[in-house]
């Protein structure tokens, strides 16, 4: 079974989509944790997808994005980067700027986290 359609739906519909190992409540990988923390610092409301329940999720995701590693962060449908880029953008203030531009000035007014299960 292919997850491509479901993955695309999350990427297209979520303001900020984070494909990670584990969930925000139970992070299973240091790099996913780095990306999640940077997004939280920037005040982003994150829609998280755990890629671990089925190896096919990661395969379909990387085929769609052309990005080989996890985590992957998308804002309004566009790949912004993995953990290194998100940390770098956050520390320079660029991440907040991008979020404001794409999501509006008040993007951080109400911060919440959502977990979407694909499998």
């Amino acid at each position: 079974m292919s997850y491509s359609r479901k993955i695309k739906e999350v990427i297209d519909e979520a303001d900020v989509a984070l494909f990670m190992k584990g969930t925000p409540q139970f992070v299973m990988c240091g790099n996913s944790d780095r990306a999640l923390r940077a997004l939280r610092r920037a005040g982003a409301s994150v829609t998280a997808v755990d890629i671990l329940p089925d190896p096919q999720i990661r395969q379909d995701l990387s085929a769609l994005s052309g990005w080989p590693t996890i985590p992957q962060v998308f804002v309004k449908g566009e790949l912004i980067g993995g953990a290194d880029i998100i940390e770098e953008l956050e520390s320079s203030g660029e991440l907040e700027r991008t979020l404001r531009e794409r999501l509006g000035e008040d993007y951080a007014a109400q911060r919440d986290e959502l977990v979407v299960a694909l499998a």
């Binding site: 790099n31 052309g66 990005w67 080989p68 590693t69 790949l79 912004i80 980067g81 993995g82 953990a83 290194d84 880029i85 770098e88 953008l89």
Partner: protein
């Protein structure tokens, strides 16, 4: 895989690099920190810069010899 082998792959992808380094972060030959600064990266977004690094290391990424890759890139003048 040794850091030196990754360096060879990166040097052939970025012959113009001003700064190119690979550090084996754990000594286990599968967690690496890669640094590349090259004029050919200038003007590209960070996503595109990292994509170039992934392309250069596609083989060791695909066969699982690289478990974790940290990347720092810069488009140097």
């Amino acid at each position: 895989m040794s850091a030196d082998r990754l360096k060879v792959l990166l040097h052939s992808a970025f012959p113009d690099a001003d700064d190119l380094d690979v550090v084996d972060r754990t000594g286990g030959g599968d967690h690496f920190q890669v640094t590349v600064a090259a004029p050919s990266l200038a003007g590209l977004s960070l996503v595109e810069q990292h994509r170039r690094v992934y392309e250069a290391l596609a083989a060791p990424l695909a066969d699982g010899t690289i478990h974790e890759l940290r990347i720092k890139t810069k488009g140097s003048a």
